[in-house]
């Protein structure tokens, strides 16, 4: 029973901390780019403001437009529930494995894209079309990278896979190196960061995710924004805990959990800095460069998989 308690606590922490991680990334980015930085708590203020505001929607919006924020939020929370954050074992990981996680991210994307087309403005359709293109190319990369880990660990259960990496100690696995690079590239694309998309722009011909949600306001927008932050954290937690799980709590004592909390927070913060540096040194790409970018990521993922098959399984 205590496992489920920890799992639920972890999920709540996940949901609550996601805006903080977003705030941290924004703050470091501002410092790195010589701009005055907003407070770490700014994302919470933004969300609170949006929740208080009127929702304004277009005359011809259908029920789908109004339902989408809830579906997207719920689907993202399901994915957050199955990624180990602080402690192992995670009982919820048995409910939905990594393929289901990819499926739920796809479900959220499906509905966001549909909502983008609901009003019938040019921007919405453009965003949806591009998002589906990026998603179509990114999903196989995501699955390939996690399959590399799943094949090594002989499980698609994320909790078991993290446990496997933890148990096998510090073994140099070339396949994991390729896989983590591929996963990082695809995470950048999937969460709409530079160089694929820019979360900070509006009303530009280059925007993708923002174009789809352009018609949202008030609490609907708040839910979508929050879901986007949780999604970013899901990817980051996946990267740090799947490939570098050391420090995660393996028992449910207070000391162990506290250690897990501190270590995970530090790892996520560090990965946030890496992301910021990446975003700062890269320029935003043209849309039709994105396939090449994702093609490269796919190649890395494939190399990881083949390295595993050829080098790491005795034949």
């Amino acid at each position: 029973m205590i496992e489920w308690g920890v799992a639920i606590g972890q999920l709540l922490l996940f949901i609550a901390a996601a805006p903080l991680l977003g705030g941290w990334i924004k703050r470091v980015k501002c410092h790195l780019q010589n701009r005055a930085a907003p407070s770490l708590l700014q994302p919470y203020r933004d969300l609170a403001k949006l929740f208080r505001k009127h929702s304004v929607i277009a005359n011809n919006a259908s029920w789908l437009f109004r339902a989408t924020p809830y579906i997207v939020f719920a689907a993202t929370i399901v994915t957050a529930a199955v990624v180990p954050l602080l402690a192992l074992p995670l009982p919820t990981a048995a409910v939905a494995d990594v393929i289901v996680l990819a499926g739920f991210l796809a479900l959220a994307r499906f509905f966001t894209a549909l909502a983008g087309m609901d009003i019938g403005t040019a921007f919405g359709g453009m965003g949806s079309s591009r998002e589906m293109m990026i998603g179509a190319l990114a999903e196989p990369v995501l699955l390939m990278t996690v399959f590399t880990v799943s094949m090594s660990a002989a499980t698609t259960n994320l909790s078991e896979a993290v446990d496997f990496t933890l148990q096998s100690g510090l073994v140099l696995r070339p396949s994991f190196l390729f896989a983590v690079l591929g996963l990082m590239m695809v995470a950048v694309a999937e969460t709409g960061r530079v160089p694929v998309d820019n979360p900070a722009t509006h009303l530009e011909l280059t925007m993708v995710h923002e174009a789809m949600i352009l018609e949202y306001s008030g609490r609907h927008l708040a839910l979508i924004e929050w879901a986007a932050k949780i999604k970013l954290m899901v990817y980051m937690a996946l990267i740090v805990n799947l490939f570098l799980p050391w420090g995660i709590a393996t028992e449910f004592s207070a000391a162990s959990l506290a250690q897990g909390f501190v270590v995970t927070a530090a790892k996520l913060a560090l990965l946030g800095v890496v992301l910021v540096v990446w975003e700062t040194v890269m320029a935003k790409m043209r849309v039709f460069r994105v396939p090449q970018y994702l093609g490269f990521a796919f190649l890395l993922a494939l190399l990881g998989m083949l390295t595993h098959v050829v080098l790491e399984t005795g034949g």
Binding site: K53, H54, S55, V56, I57, A58, N59, N60, S62, L64, R66, Y70, I71, F73, A74, I77, V78, V95, D97, I99, V100, G103, A106, L107, R109, F110, L114, M117, D118, I119, G120, T121, A122, G124, G125, S128, S129, M132, M133, G135, A136, L137, A138, E139, P140, L143, M144, F147, S150, T155, T156, E215, G218, R219, V287, A301, L302, M305, L306, V309
Partner: protein
């Protein structure tokens, strides 16, 4: 009711439906209902018969005193045919609900076709499909197969006033017969070795690996062509869309599955020992079909054509799962082979349901708007709210999204593919993950395709007058779609229960049960064991509903009223329908990335202002896309056949003297041979 009686009832009522339909022009309304009622009865009893053998894992054999004097018609109802009877029954049942209202548009139409033909051939087509899956000898199988093919030819050719339909129907008939010949030859190989045409004798035949492989090759070509595998698929997107929509649903949803039934029956049941090389061929062809099928679908703007292409994708998924299964069985991994087979069967069931649903939905749209082109639709969610819900469920299911039925088979297929490390051959170990990547790419592209379908057809603003004045379809049609949509959800969230029933098929064919798929109860799906992979669809669905609902209620407590306003279009005046992304525009990024897949002919003509050349007055954009299999495979073969015919045609001079000379020389030649 015994399964035997139910089977006879299904066959008899389908036959009776055909007979009743003969008089349909006399008493249109009454007999139309009677015909569909009988078809519904036949579907229900087929499902009953199928379910009872699946649940009890028994098999029943029958012999009808028909057919050749020395070879009566043998019928056999076992778990495999039972499963396919259920698949056929589900879609036929939906069609029988849908039909009466839908076909009314054809009754009063002042068109050259006879309504009788539609009703009679629909019933015969369905009867043919029942008989194919029940056949227990090759002769009976081929007769049923031809009944199915020829009856569906008349349905494809139904609206024969359009030249394109006539062409499609001819192509369909041609391909069906090339496939038929190939299947017949395959049975011939088996019958030669087994000494007879009953499946019993074929099963007992002792084939060498070479002969077995030849039989497999012929059968794979024949059944694969009928199922629409790439590159033999070109007929499918021509033929399936031109039939009336409920027929398209039967053809795409069920008839392709009947072809796959033939393949499964032959490979798993009749051919004896399974070679892994067959699996490899099937896996590769399947993976390519999946990817190309979905890419072609992505670029189609005609809704029914798009759905037909998407069937090619789904047949590819099924072939991939079957291929994996054969590879594992050939390498001695019986248990994994069983799982692959279950994944394939699950997808067969799922695809029949959601493709049936989508085709019925396309028919509903056509009835309401008279449009097939996505670019002429738009905003239908406001005009046809219920159809929109059912179609949305169908789109989600076919896109392989959890927690609906398409996801379960995809998940199982990935789980089987992930077991590749147990294989000894390094090539296979490397190849299987690559094909898994192709499946993942196709699944994501399928999601993009169905965002396009739903987004362009149902969302946004109506693009034409027809779309603006659409009306919701009658109750019967809604019921049919609703039934299939609910099944999409049920089979999505109750996979363990479903697999517990499907189990009977691998038990029959491979005498192995999947190890632990269902041992953890109805809540859990654990194909290998709980620590390898588990998925609890009911819990996931529950979590989705609970979280979404809770958030909604929480926000409702103190939510302000939602304000509705005109959308802002950057100050250019009112938003109009022409500002929206079209279906072509939506697919354009994918078209650009995967350009080598199609024969593209793009033309952009810019007209500039005479005095100020920097001003563009108008732009005309023309795009022609064609499936490459036409220009690379079908057209060359067609030319070759024509060329050969022309050469042989030189013999035919039209002069009696020459013909007499031919006869004379032939006689001389024969005399020489005899002596």
């Amino acid at each position: 009711m015994s399964p035997l009686f139910a089977t006879y009832l299904a066959l008899a009522s389908a036959l009776l439906a055909a007979v009743v339909s003969l008089g349909v022009t006399r008493l249109p309304t009454l007999l139309r209902y009677a015909s569909f009622l009988l078809l519904g009865l036949s579907a229900a009893s087929a499902m009953y018969a199928g379910m009872s053998v699946l649940l009890t894992s028994t098999s029943v054999t029958m012999e009808l005193p028909l057919g050749l004097p020395w070879l009566n018609w043998h019928l056999r109802l076992d778990a495999l045919s039972g499963f396919f009877l259920v698949v056929i029954g589900v879609v036929v049942l939906a069609v029988s609900l849908y039909g009466p209202a839908y076909v009314r548009t054809f009754v009063h139409a002042k068109a050259p076709q006879s309504f009788t033909a539609l009703s009679v051939f629909t019933a015969l087509f369905i009867l043919g499909m029942y008989l194919v899956v029940l056949a227990d000898d090759a002769f009976m199988f081929m007769v049923a197969w031809e009944l199915m093919s020829v009856a569906s030819y008349f349905l494809v050719a139904y609206q024969h006033q359009y030249p394109a339909n006539r062409r499609a129907a001819f192509l369909y008939l041609l391909m069906a017969h090339i496939a038929g010949v190939s299947i017949l030859l395959s049975f011939g190989v088996l019958a030669g070795a087994g000494g007879g045409y009953t499946f019993e004798q074929m099963r007992a035949a002792d084939l060498s690996v070479t002969w077995a492989s030849i039989a497999f090759g012929l059968a794979f070509f024949g059944f694969g062509m009928k199922a629409g595998m790439v590159p033999l698929h070109a007929w499918l997107p021509e033929a399936h869309p031109v039939a009336p929509s409920h027929i398209s649903a039967l053809m795409s949803g069920v008839m392709l599955k009947v072809a796959l039934y033939g393949l499964i029956r032959l490979v798993y049941d009749l051919l004896g020992e399974i070679q892994w090389e067959w699996g490899l061929v099937m896996l590769l062809v399947g993976a390519i079909s999946t990817l190309l099928g979905v890419l072609y679908a992505m670029l189609s703007n005609n809704l029914k054509r798009l759905l037909a292409y998407s069937s090619i994708e789904n047949v590819g998924i099924i072939l991939s799962a079957l291929g994996l299964s054969l590879i594992f069985i050939g390498n001695g991994e019986q248990v994994l082979g069983v799982l692959g087979l279950i994944a394939a069967l699950y997808h067969i069931l799922g695809h029949a349901i959601f493709k049936g649903l989508l085709f019925l939905g396309a028919g509903a749209i056509a009835r309401a708007t008279h449009e097939y082109d996505l670019n002429n639709m738009g905003g239908l969610i406001h005009r046809m709210p219920r159809t929109a819900v059912w179609m949305l469920i169908g789109c989600l299911a076919i896109a392989g999204l959890p927690p609906l039925t398409g996801f379960v088979s995809e998940w199982l297929t990935f789980q089987v593919a992930l077991q590749a490390p147990v294989l000894k051959s390094g090539v296979l170990r490397a190849l299987i993950p690559v094909t898994a990547a192709m499946l993942a790419l196709s699944a994501a592209l399928a999601a993009a395709t169905f965002v396009k379908v739903f987004g362009v057809a149902f969302l946004g603003q109506p693009r034409t007058r027809n779309a603006r004045h659409a009306h919701e379809v009658p109750l019967g049609m809604q019921l049919a779609m609703g039934m299939l949509a609910i099944l999409c959800v049920l089979f999505g969230i109750l996979p363990s229960t479903t697999i517990g029933v499907i189990d009977a098929v691998p038990q029959l064919l491979l005498e192995t049960l999947p190890p632990e798929a269902t041992t953890a109860g109805w809540l859990w799906l654990t194909p290998m064991s709980a620590d390898v992979a588990s998925y609890s669809a009911p819990l996931v669905a529950l979590a989705l509903v609970v979280v979404g609902g809770l958030v909604y209620l929480l926000l409702r407590v103190r939510a302000e009223r939602i304000r509705r306003v005109y959308p802002w279009e950057c100050g250019y005046g009112e938003v109009n329908a022409r500002m929206q992304y079209t279906a072509t525009a939506f697919a354009q990024p994918i078209q650009r990335i995967f350009a080598p897949v199609w024969d593209l002919d793009e033309e952009i003509v810019e007209k500039r202002h005479a005095k100020q050349p920097q001003l563009v007055e108008s732009i005309r954009y023309q795009l022609q896309r064609q499936d490459k299999s036409w220009s690379r495979l079908y057209a060359p073969i067609g030319m070759l056949v024509l060329g050969a015919a022309r050469r042989i045609g030189y013999l035919q001079t039209g002069s009696i003297h020459t013909y007499l000379a031919y006869s004379f020389f032939t006689l001389l030649f024969l005399l020489w041979v005899v002596t």
